[in-house]
Homo-oligomer: 175 residues x 2
Amino acid sequence: MMPPSPLQKTRAGSAAPAAAAAPERRQPAAAPAVEQVDTGYLETLIGYNARRAALAVIERFMARMAAFELKPVDFSVLSLITHNPGITSRQLCNALGILPPNLVGMINALERRKLIARQPHPRDGRAVGLHLTGTGRKLMRDAERTAMEVETEATRALSAAERQTLIRLLKKIYL
Amino acid sequence: MMPPSPLQKTRAGSAAPAAAAAPERRQPAAAPAVEQVDTGYLETLIGYNARRAALAVIERFMARMAAFELKPVDFSVLSLITHNPGITSRQLCNALGILPPNLVGMINALERRKLIARQPHPRDGRAVGLHLTGTGRKLMRDAERTAMEVETEATRALSAAERQTLIRLLKKIYL
DNA sequence: TATTGTTATACTCTATAACTATA
DNA sequence: TATAGTTATAGAGTATAACAATA
């Protein structure tokens, strides 16, 4: 997806030593060169850190879910259908922040793969209820187990308590 | 950017009560309707929470930075140049996970706005050092102050200690 | 009149191949 | 030969307008 890059840290405020190999010569007032990139300032920002962390986890998630031919958004859609049988397209859009025109293709593709089936909505003739097929249920059992494995791998550096804390604090940001 | 949607919570595992208004009638084996979308399962996943949180903060960030005509990536680029005068395009790409072809247009646009200037690299004839202009420095003083205000707004629900903890845990995920 | 699902379409973001000039 | 910067271009993701069917 994106080369995450080591992001080596230096403490902020340093003016970058120009030439490490020639310490004796007085340099003219030339443009300095950067030896080690200082990302200290950006790393103080919640948005920067949250995005980097999300990308790191999602990259790992994508690698593992490729076996099921599921992108993160496909997994999210199937997961919501799994736990909300009969959910409508509109409800999916609202829950996931997807615009209706962009969901149509995903739903059609999942239906072509026989993972989901459309059924008439019991009380609203405009809406269509979405349901997993047997094949879909089987796939999602495996996919959700894999998702849990990804969780374990991605949060390997965290204790169980830290993992709980992280999720609690993230929810306080976006809820 | 994206309607974040309230994301009302219900506890997981419920099979969705079909008709709230007609409790007496025995319903035929029809497709159920979903009254309240249950996102409980997705909310147990770090990737989901990190992405939602990142989008929430970035949305707020974009709204405030529009006054400076800076998108998040522009701010990141200018901020790295600010704290690393003489940084090269390649170093920017590595630090931010941007592919070189996609950085060219951004750099050109910032140069056209007289916010940055290219200077020859002191030791590598292929590379170009990037520097802020006076205008760029002035803009970034205001922009970084605004970024700090966004931090305060976005983490309003967190204590200072929680904010520190959140950043520390996020770094453990992606570093 | 408002809403669900849909089509068409545009815009942005991200990714790959290939070129040039310098090392 | 390898790397920095660049061009062109393809693909994925996200956005708005407008329509038919139903409420």
